[in-house]
Every structure is written in structure tokens, then in C-alpha cells.
Symmetry: C2
Subunit: 232 residues, 2 copies
Amino acid sequence: MARVSLKTVAKEAGAGSVRPAAKAKEKSRTNDPDRTRANIIEVATHEFSEKGLSGARIDEIAERTRTSKRMIYYYFESKEGLYRAVLEESYRRIRTIEATLDLENKPPLEALAQHVRFTFDYQLANTDFIRLVMVENIHHGEHIAQLSQTQQANMAAIDTLRGIVQRGIDSGVFRKDLNPIDLHMSISALCFFNVANRYTFSTIFKVDMASPAETAARRESVADMVLRFVAP
Amino acid sequence: MARVSLKTVAKEAGAGSVRPAAKAKEKSRTNDPDRTRANIIEVATHEFSEKGLSGARIDEIAERTRTSKRMIYYYFESKEGLYRAVLEESYRRIRTIEATLDLENKPPLEALAQHVRFTFDYQLANTDFIRLVMVENIHHGEHIAQLSQTQQANMAAIDTLRGIVQRGIDSGVFRKDLNPIDLHMSISALCFFNVANRYTFSTIFKVDMASPAETAARRESVADMVLRFVAP
DNA sequence: ACAAACGTACGAACCAGTGCGTTTATGTCA
DNA sequence: TGACATAAACGCACTGGTTCGTACGTTTGT
């Protein structure tokens, strides 16, 4: 059925990943499993986050890749396998970035405020991740349930917050009955909504939640709400 | 192009829809367009909310209906048409129920607290609706964008909150710079997350967010957070 | 030489949508 | 009132395009 060749000719495109200098004739193929794998995941991440697990098409993902559909199955075995790899990688990325923040040495109130603003901005800048979480919840979390590695690592992500809360309580600037997990949930909820429900909310209330002005105001409102929440 | 009439034959619709007494032989079919339509929407609501727009299957919806697949296309024209009808009906239902609450005559603080707890409980009890909103946002809100009727009616849904805010400010128990839409967003965010992200959050943090104890604690935490937020 | 990495082309199941014929309800006029 | 025409409501069985997945052969690296 005249299915088009889909060459993906040449191209140095890459965000990085230098190739061997050879390049002489474009006829030659270069094996680079790491790059191929990473490239597939990158494309798939965007595709799954845009269309969901059921809405995404393996053929379309393959098309946007520098390799072929066969390679997707070679590396990931199935559509769900690929989805799981995408989920894992997205969760891995968020926690490595979160760890770079140094909030341990700042006064609790300031540290918390910064933590909230950072979370807000990170989620705003990583809508792909947010949407993947939405998709995963539509699927009842059955895939992340299989990634125990990911679960553990992400549970540890609130250790920073836990530390801030402890210091805040100790120094008397936070109320004593504060529950770190509950606090984390509230922060997540406020930041998450801003990205996740942007479309329906903007449509109904005729505001452009993606605009810089709206975003800035919202960020401060969220920070304010959290700070008020922890006060004694 | 046998394009169906789409009658909407007036009628008192009601959840009940009494049938003609006839019923004589079970061999005979009884035409009851309203009931058929409502039945399809009911089944489709659950199916779309469980599997999403792309994940849901028309054949499966038809199977769970008391009628045939052909009727789905007879009444709704396409899968997306059915989805739109489902979305519209879900939004319609939430606002009629919301309107039944009488908060106009209670003191602002009490009214707000009740409003928050009601929102929390309603969303908890109507996961189908919440999940539909998630699905719609995955699709960039392109379907609700076509339902201007629904948009308008739902924008009006914050009039109650707006009234409470005004009375609270006037009587001095709320701070003056409170923005009703911003407040509404925060309340929605806190309640929404509880249902929408239940699976990933429960999995990562090893808590059962659906349990009564967890739910009750969370409801009070949310109410507390909102009340602190509005204080002068 | 041998395994890992890769591409092409194909198949089988799935699934939205429809052609067409049948039954039920309703209006109309003798 | 009842015969009849017409429209609405309905069901069966099918189709054509889509889509996940793979058989099989080729190239690259060690």
C-alpha cells in the first residue's frame, strides 16, 4: 500500500550527541544505541503527553524519530513498554532537577517560599510532565505501580520539604501540627491545576492563564496561600 | 446523506420518563427516544471518563446500552458528537446541583467553609465528572470551546462565591484584596487534585487517598487552608 | 565470525462509521 | 373510527481504513 519511504535523511539536528566524523557517503548507517533510545523517548514523551496513551500512535512516533518503528519494538517491546520508559524518564528528570536547589541553609519561611515558587515554575515549564501525570491517573496509575524504583525515588523528593517544615516548627515560625505530606499535596495541587486545567478554566472564565501577567499573579497568590497555611 | 433530524421533541424529560402501559408482548419494541438518548449518555459518560476520548470504544459503549451502535450515530452523529453531549450533560448537572445550596443567608466565614466542604465532597462523589475534565484538558479544551452555552452557565457558577466574598469584605472578616476568580481557582485546585491525582499520589506516598480517614483529614486541611487565605 | 543494531514490508485485528431493511408512532382524511 | 401515508426510531451486518506488532533480511561493530 504505497506506504512512503520515510527516509529521515541525514541531519545533524541533535541537541548534542556528536557523531563520528566519517559522514563521507550518506549511504552509511551509524549505530548509536544510546542516541537512538534517547531520541525515541524524547519524541514519545511529547507524543504521549499530547495525545495520551491510547491517542498516541506508534507509527507517528516512529515517523518523528531518526529511526524506524522496528527500533521502538526492539528497545521497548510494546507501546506500553515505551510509555513506561517515558514515564520513568520524566519522573527521573524532575527529581534530579529538584535536588539542585539549595534550601537547607535558608531560613524556613524563605526556603518554603522559594520551594513553592520553584515548583510552580518548574511545572509551568514542563507541561509534558504534568500531562503525563494526568494521563497516568486516567489509567489509574497502573503503570507507575510497576515502577517501584521510580516510586521510591520520588517519595524521597519531599525530604527537602520535610526538613524545611521541621526547622520551621523548631524555630517557631510554623505551626506545630503541620503535616509535610499534606503540605506537599496542597503545594502540588495549587501548582498542578495551573497547568493541568488551564484549558477548561481559561475557556470558562475568559482569562488567559498562560499569559505572563496572569502567571505572575497566580504564582504569588499560591505562595501567599501556602505561607499563610503554615503560620502558627 | 440521511442526516437525522435530531428532534429533541420537547417533553418533560425527567429522570423518570413514564412508558406507555401497553407492554403486551415482549416481542414488541417500544420507541422511547428520550430514554434511549439518556441511556446512551449515561453509559458513555462512564466509558469516556474511564478510558478517555481515544481510549473509549463505541462498540463497547453500544454493548452496555439497551440499544444498538446504530442508535449512537443516529442521535449523536459521531464519536466526538457523543463525547460533546456527555461533556455538556456533566457540566449541566454539576451547576444545577450547586445551585441548590443556600449560602446567601449565612455569615461569610461559615458560608465559605460550607462552600469549600461541599465542593470537596461533590468532586469526591463525582469522579466521572472530574476525570472528564482531565480528559478534556488533555484535548486542549477543544470540545468545551464549542459549547458556548455550557461556558456561560458555568461562569455564572462563581456568582455565589462572589457574593460570599463581597459580604465577607464588607463585614471586615475577609481581606479587601481578595479576587473571587483567584479564590475559586484555589478551591478548585485543592479539591480537584484530591480526585484527579489520587492514583499517582497514593502510589508514591503510600497513602490510600480514597480511605474515609484520609478523606476527612484532607477535607479539613483544605477548608482550613482556604479560611486562612481569606483572613485579613 | 558473530552479535548487536537497524530497515522494509507485510499481516491480522480492530474500530469508527454506514447501507439498508424493519418496526413503531403519529397525523390525516374519508 | 379506522385505513393509510409518512416520519421517527430502531437493528443487523458489513466495510474500509487504521494501527499494533512482526517476519525476515541487511548493515555495523568488535
